[in-house]
Amino acid sequence: MLPIPQNITIVGLNVHGLLTALLLRKTYKPAVTGITLVGLKEEDSPPKAYIAGKALNTLLEHFGYSEANWMRQTQATFKLSNRYVGFSEQEFSVANASEVDILHQPLMLELSKLKRQAYQLDLSLDDFFFAAALAKRNLSPKAQDFPFETDYQYQVDANCLFTLLQKIAAEHSITTRPSTLETLQLDQHGTLKHIECEDQILSGDYFFDCTQSAQLLIGNMPDFRQETLPEVRINDRVLTYTLAAECCASEVVTTALDCGFVLQYTLQDAVHFQYHYSSKFIQDPQAVQRLERHISQQGYKKVLQRHLSASQAYLVSQPWIHNCLAIGPACGLTQGTEDHELSHTFAMLEQFVSSIQSPDDAKDVIKNYNHRIKSRFVYAHSYHSTLQLLNSRRNSPYWQTPQDANALTPIGRSLFSQWLSGEDLSVEPILDINGLTAWYALFSGLGHYPTGELKPHPKSRAIQDNIQDMCRKLAGCCLNFQTHDNLIAEGKHHANVTAV
């Protein structure tokens, strides 16, 4: 059994460090556990948008910030779906789960199976996902008297979130030391004894490394090893543009370009474009031109900020070594078209807290923790690598580069094989990353159906009627939901009134 933390030291003054501090503070009261956060805020922080799950709302509500309030302060909007453009002939959505979908999921499963059996069916799985229906109409996930729950996330401005978290940390007994880490001291067992920061010695029974890719703590632990994730079409550069925007979408749009893909996040009054590309195939100046052309095609003009950074996928082999835990990108980074950075951080800390409560032997608990956390990264990476490998773009050297079929992870390979053989997909999903239906959406959206001679289905008319009826139902349900723009505007209004 592991000891309850009495003295926690967190290194890394950034969103992950602050979230770590607050999530631990939520569980461990100041009278029992001291929490110290060490680090210097990066000057001139680059623009960045995060996707956050409901765990962020739960945390901030715990500290007295209503959803409308913190969303206003972090320029946040809702996210219901990720729409993929340009990865195959037709765009497709990977939508968040909704309880409405349960009612027509059997139809979706049956029809996707028939289509895989070479029946000629006019089928788009987008039609089956209620969250996608909401997002396409730019609706919010909020409705009155609608008893089905629809999962949603938030698109959050990273810098605003940092400011808010810092304020909350100051109000809730988090000791902040604005200094840089100089050395760390291990005992003979390899356990971290203390760290030294500008003449201060900070001890702790648990140390949390939130220093992102610098990995200042975990990288110096004796058993540290880093694994490379099996990479596909490696994107090593991220170019970010922030532009002024008047309306906000409740979806993320991911567009495949010649040498990578662009993620488009919408915040209140602003839109972020993140171009992930490979410097092997496009030089930075051309990438800037290409992204600007894409932005212009989307109708945006007023550039607020831009930033270029390097990026690489990795995963530490042991996220928890002795009394040191790597949190956030210090643990790993996947190059996904879907951003799981914050959800990984929340999952790690929830897993840590439940590990502390476990009656099992400490070694087993840590082993189990490491297995679970690494599984999350591998699962997320599986989804992304499957998208990258199985898309049908062939219009540029980047997309034409032969891919190693083995680059599909075991999860991706197993699911794709099930898909091709017409079976129901079966995998233990990590739901806050992507549920099973997301895999259906992916394979279907990328067009992996038999080609050549297709069989007419004897009941094709009735099937199309069923699909139409389902679309009518989803459209009807959408009438209950507030528009995204209105809800965000109302949130602002509400927050202003509260402030007055």
């Binding site: 309880e99 349960i102 009612l103 008297d145 609608f146 008893p147 009518r472 139902k473 009807g476 349900c477 009438l479 209950n480």
Partner: protein, 506 residues
């Protein structure tokens, strides 16, 4: 498949609901054929014409006829029906009443939870297994709402109607006449048969002989052609279903209109209460072996709190069915074919399904005469009668009243092998739906949910031995969540009276 119709002329005997329904359906479905349809109706023989309850299949029947609700419902003082509430069928105070709903798409949402709690209840856990709280229709009925899908809450709803059967017959008569059905008022005095026993013609009291190549017998309990002329054997259900009489009366409507039928158990049978837009239709179905008509009338009068001067009608019923519904060139539709007492309002379901299945059988016949599917048709009809009989019978077998000899007798007979198997499975806490599927019962009118609602609603469970706290948390159903779901869903539906008024206006 038939490219031409094997019949040139069809005579329908009887102008009640079944007769005009048959006329309309045959005329509509075979409108492209050179076919004469004539209905012969006697002005000397009245129709029963009580307020009529139905099952959801009738919705599809009207849809096939192309008749919209806004057209026929106001004309027939019709109301919507979400299901039936059964009151006083159990002596257990926790099961004084339950609702048998028409099961809708939204009910699937918590079906698993309902089934799970039934299993747990059988294992002695004191969990909530009464059906009412799981079902949307029950909530709609409670709030007197209509089961009409709103545009913004467009989930499939199963529902039926209550209507004045006499007015419906009049409405359908007009339709049928528009669709070239001819009508003759005459009393049949004689039926002439050919050498092979098939019907050649009928002779009216005025001596006119009317020939046809096919006859539809809608002559009610008289069963003029199928029973009297063709002498098809009759399978009586009197051994298992005791009721053979009814006393009826209409009463004034209430301020608001219920959207359900009420079925209240009395001392020697049960009483229906069917809401129409202008009145209530009421009836007490009882067994004359256990109660005289006078005593039944008196009990019913007290039940309805009516004055001594109230005038009641008395009816006799014959429960059972003819071994074949289609014999030679005669199809029987309605009471002339059979009747399983009115408890679940199945009479018009049998009538409409009989004529729908007949048209399908002829259309898909492989012989020119149109008879190749006759045996299959009759087998299917017999199956339907026996499955529905089992379900109706279960109401009586599962009752727990001890107050009169009638109720003790109602559960004292031996059920059919199939019903015995279903009951045994239930008492063993095993899967009733699986048995229903194996016995092909669920293909008929009453699905899994109906059977489970009946048994759970009447409280046919062993005594609880464990509190809910003895269950692992993961197995405890969050009834508040279900309650919230059902109540929130119900908010989307219109008040029954508003929906009826909107129909009238449209």
């Amino acid at each position: 498949m038939q490219t031409s119709l094997p019949f040139k002329k069809i005579i329908i005997i009887g102008g009640g609901t079944a007769g005009w329904m048959s006329a309309c359906y045959l005329a509509k479905m075979w409108q492209d054929y050179d076919l004469e349809i004539k209905i012969i109706e006697s002005d000397a023989i009245g129709t029963i014409g009580v307020g009529e309850g139905t099952t959801p299949s009738i919705k599809g029947f009207f849809e096939q006829l192309g008749i919209e609700a806004k057209e026929w419902m106001p004309a027939c003082n019709a109301t919507y029906k979400t299901g039936i509430r059964f009151v006083n069928w159990s002596s257990d105070p926790n099961y004084k009443s339950y609702f048998h709903p028409f099961y809708s798409q939204l009910d699937e949402y918590f079906q698993h939870e309902f089934f799970q709690n039934i299993q747990l209840k059988h294992r002695g856990f004191d969990v909530h297994a009464h059906p009412d709280q799981y079902l949307l229709a029950s909530e709609l009925a409670q709030q007197r709402k209509a089961p009409i899908e709103p545009e913004h809450y467009p989930f499939d709803m199963a529902y039926a109607y209550h209507f004045d059967a006499t007015l419906l017959a009049q409405f359908l008569k007009k339709k049928a006449l528009q669709w070239n059905v001819t009508h003759q008022v005459a009393t049949i005095n004689e039926v002439k048969q050919k050498d092979d026993g098939s019907i050649a013609s009928v002779v009216t009291e005025s001596g006119a002989t009317i020939e046809a190549d096919f006859f539809v017998d809608c002559s009610g309990f008289r069963s003029l052609l199928l029973g009297k002329s063709l002498k098809v054997p009759y399978n009586s259900f009197a051994d298992s279903l005791l009721n053979d009489s009814a006393v009826t009366i209409v009463t004034e409507r209430e301020d608001t209109t219920p959207s359900m039928t009420l079925s209240t158990a009395l001392s020697c049978g049960w009483a229906w209460r069917i809401p129409l837009t202008n009145r209530f239709g009421n009836g007490y179905v009882f067994s004359s072996r256990f109660q005289s008509p006078q005593d039944a009338e008196e009990e019913f009068r007290r039940h309805l709190a009516l004055p001594e001067s109230a005038q009641f009608n008395h009816l006799k019923m014959r429960v059972g069915h003819f071994a074949k519904g289609w014999e030679k060139n005669v199809l029987a539709v309605g009471l002339s074919q059979g009747f399983i007492e009115p408890l679940e309002a199945t009479a018009l379901h049998f009538a409409t399904q009989s004529v729908v299945d007949f048209v399908s059988a002829v259309d898909n016949s492989t012989d020119q005469a149109g008879y190749s599917n006759q045996t299959a048709y009759n087998n299917k009809l017999s199956d339907r009668f026996s499955c529905v009989r089992d379900y109706i019978e279960l109401h009586y077998l599962a009752n727990s009243r001890h107050d009169t000899p009638y109720w003790k007798a109602a559960r004292s007979h031996t059920p059919s092998r199939r019903l015995q198997r279903i009951l045994t499975t239930w008492h063993q806490g095993k899967s009733v739906p699986r048995v229903l599927d194996e016995e092909a019962v669920s293909l008929q009118l009453f699905g899994h949910e109906s059977w489970l609602c009946l048994l759970a609603g009447k409280g046919v469970f062993p005594e609880s031995e464990h509190t809910i706290d003895a269950l692992p948390t993961a197995m405890r159903i969050d009834m508040q969540k279900i309650k919230h779901f059902v109540e929130t869903s119900a908010k989307h539906y219109p008040l029954h009276d508003d929906a009826l008024a909107a129909l009238k206006q449209s």
